[in-house]
Symmetry: C2
Subunit: 151 residues, 2 copies
DNA sequence: ATAATTGCAAAATATTTGCCTACTT
DNA sequence: AAGTAGGCAAATATTTTGCAATTAT
């Protein structure tokens, strides 16, 4: 469980799992998908959990260091995070509506390992983001454009 | 040639290919690999080409809009760009020394297309970044760690 | 007591924008 | 003359940091 992992990470260096750190951890893991520091901070305030912005940023950095949380990408609106318990996956991003779709392909993982071997590079992790248009937005466009959907 | 593409892009909207815009364009395309706005700006100053930071940012945005230049990623040190004439490729990033290695795999491209088909997603582009350790840094570590290289 | 932690506000960093001047046509 | 472009400095947004007060062991 994530709390124990984090506690161990902290105790190994003589640090403490404080109320704030734990609250931030819980909140991060309560997000189904992706989150950014500011939203996490605001959500916490709404729920009455008190932690400062500084603590949110500081704790997210700790969570990254210990691997429980990873940076997905940096955007105009700040860094996007996700928690990393659960299986690895990649992302498709719809550039129309912004939806982020997770997917996983064993062949893709295997192929990347093979490419790393060929290039003599020790791959540790990867971020793949396929950008394009989701079905929903494509359908919307077809309706507007009047394209027929069956032959 | 990139200058004509950019000129056309600008003239189509009644804008001009000015000395500064051209200088920034040339500088961007003179970078073999990746660059960031600040370095580009500093390099330009060194070479005596005069353009303000604001113009660099403004022009890079224009170059992105017209597709001559693309954002590779956002890092702690700002946005990394590359010019997009020449072939598509992906990146391996060494987390030890920061080196960025370009690679291309036809199979990988094909496989991604297939995945998109399966997921009913219209993929337009992608960014793949494999993070890990380059050969050089691995060798350095082995020397330090005293690990033998043949059994 | 000691050392870690917090929250705040200030600082740092990257980027955008407002405004006024200077070109270009 | 009209509109575009440039440069500067101020504004913005995100994230980090210094510091004094607080907390846990």
């Amino acid at each position: 469980m994530q709390q124990n992992i984090f506690r161990k990470f902290l105790e190994d260096r003589g640090w403490r799992l404080t109320k704030q750190r734990n609250a931030i951890l819980q909140k991060a893991f309560s997000c189904k998908g992706h989150f950014d520091p500011e939203s996490l901070y605001m959500e916490m305030r709404k729920k009455g959990m008190k932690a400062s912005r500084a603590s949110v940023y500081r704790t997210l950095n700790l969570l990254c260091e210990c691997g429980l949380v990873g940076k997905v990408s940096k955007t105009e609106h700040g860094t996007i995070y996700e928690h990393t318990l659960g299986s690895h996956h990649d992302h498709m991003v719809c550039t129309d509506c912004g939806e982020i779709i997770e997917f996983y392909s064993e062949s893709l993982e295997k192929l990347q390992e093979e490419i790393c071997r060929e290039m003599d590079f020790e791959g540790k992790s990867h971020i793949l983001e396929i950008r394009g248009h989701c079905r929903h937005c494509r359908m919307k466009k077809n309706v507007l454009g009047g394209e027929s959907s069956n032959g």
